[in-house]
């Protein structure tokens, strides 16, 4: 996995719905409160999971018909 994708959603309820849909599809998702530096308010609920490239999360969300606001990518494993 090269990236960690962080996804924001239109509302907390939309985020909760997305979290469960992604988990049911087998993705190791967890909740985060997205930081303001990413253009979101500090406490908005997001979903984070590892991915291979920048396209993967967008295609996945489209395939699962999950409405989202933005996708942010972070390089995985930089610290190590």
């Amino acid at each position: 996995m090269k990236y960690i994708s962080m996804i924001s959603f239109p509302s907390p309820t939309a985020a909760e719905k997305a979290l469960r849909t992604l988990a049911a599809a087998g993705f190791p998702v967890k909740r985060i409160r997205l930081p303001q530096q990413l253009g979101e308010e500090g406490c908005v609920t997001g979903v984070v999971f590892p991915c291979r490239d920048a396209e993967e999360p967008r295609l996945l969300l489209d395939r699962l018909r999950i409405p989202y606001r933005r996708i942010y990518l972070e390089r995985a494993g930089d610290e190590t």
Partner: protein, 380 residues
């Protein structure tokens, strides 16, 4: 104590409800705001309630479920959100003050309300007059599914269908129906308001507004939602648009457990049990020459709620005599003076309302108490 006042507040609560409320108070913290497991637990609790309530009422999804303080809050959201100057609202004559008082308050803003005339249990006459009422320009129909005084199941599905044919949105007041009879988003139904603390066995201070999502309501209150804080306006999306401030998470946990209890028992089983108690008591009360009992000849038109009057005695006095003998009931106008007027007993009534926790032995004990009252024997 024999508790026959479940139409006010159901009691006792199922053990699962008490456990859920306690559990939430022990584990849940800041919803939509903080971090940590407590905050995550809050998210899970509220989403679980939305999932259960959405499935229970056949709503489009979790977004359709707004947690409110009570049914009155839910009704006010729709009534004050939909009614503008010149709006004409059609209701039944058997509405609760939770509907009528907001409508009366809007009179000075030019909102007109027409109550469909009908007597008690008169489904055919109600529908005939409802058809006539919606021939005139109508912007909103508000219908009580079940009368809180008499347990009358109004023909709300048929009325909603008629409203649908004319393109009129319908708000159902399911306060006395939820947990007793099926209520859902059949054609024409745009909103359902429900109390949490009655037939759904949630704690006091909980209610639900369910929306089909075709009408965007303005919020009754503005405030924090935990997200989009830079915006000067409330979010545009449901349910957060209508949930300003921190919501009642222990209440949500209890209400979700209450809905689970109702689903486990089964609506049909609950209704059959409550009706059997009402029928037994109704038959016996009708046999007292000094008692006027409001039970329907057609049992399918009444839930497990039954009202009566001891002739020549104020209902409050009868209720006091029953309370002194260990039977809790409700007496008076039940926040529905119009329902009494339309049923022809403006002086009020004594109401008995049952739950799955009541037994036939309690019904028999109640009847024995009634037979012991001098006012009922007719020699007071």
């Amino acid at each position: 104590m024999i508790y026959f006042d479940n139409a006010s507040t159901s009691w006792p609560k199922p053990p699962g409800v008490i456990k859920a409320v306690t559990g939430a108070m022990e584990t849940a913290s800041s919803l939509h705001r903080g971090t940590g497991t407590g905050a995550e637990t809050s998210e899970d609790i509220l989403f679980d309630l939305r999932t259960r309530a959405s499935a229970f009422f056949g709503a489009p999804g979790e977004e359709s479920v707004v947690l409110t303080m009570n049914a009155t809050h839910a009704l006010n959201l729709v009534i004050k959100g939909m009614a503008k100057e010149g709006t004409r609202v059609v209701t039944s004559g058997f509405e609760h003050n939770a509907v009528m008082r907001p409508l009366y308050a809007l009179r000075e803003k030019g909102v007109v309300t027409d109550q469909v005339p009908s007597g008690l249990f008169e489904n055919e006459r109600f529908l005939e007059n409802f058809k006539k009422a919606i021939l005139k320009k109508t912007d909103l129909v508000i219908l009580n599914c079940v009368s809180n005084v008499y347990g009358w199941i109004l023909p709300f599905r048929e009325a909603a269908e008629l409203a649908y044919e004319k393109g009129i949105p319908v708000l159902l007041d399911a306060s006395q129906a939820a947990g007793h009879i099926p209520v859902g988003f059949t054609r024409g139904v745009e909103f359902i308001a429900a109390a949490g603390h009655k037939g759904l066995f949630g704690p006091g201070g909980t209610g639900l507004l369910l929306s089909r999502g075709d009408h965007i309501l303005p919020p009754l209150m503005e405030g924090g939602t935990g997200f989009d804080s830079r915006s000067e306006e409330m979010p545009s999306l449901l349910p957060e648009r209508l949930e300003a401030g921190t919501v009642n998470i222990p209440g949500a946990a209890g209400l979700a457990a209450g809905i689970a209890f109702v689903c486990d028992r089964g609506l049909q089983n609950i209704l059959a049990h409550e009706r059997s108690l009402a029928r037994r008591i109704g038959e016996e009360l009708s046999a007292f020459s000094n008692v006027k009992c409001f039970s329907c000849r057609l049992p399918e038109r009444q839930t497990g709620v039954i009202s009566f009057l001891v002739k020549g005695e104020p209902p409050e006095k009868t209720a006091l005599a029953l309370a002194e003998r260990g039977v809790a009931v409700r007496a008076g106008l039940h926040c529905a003076p119009g329902a009494h007027d339309h049923a022809g007993n403006p002086e009020g009534s004594v109401r008995l309302s049952f739950s799955p926790f009541n037994t036939m032995a309690e019904a028999e004990e109640f009847l024995a108490v009634m037979a012991s009252l001098s006012s009922v024997r007719g020699n007071s």
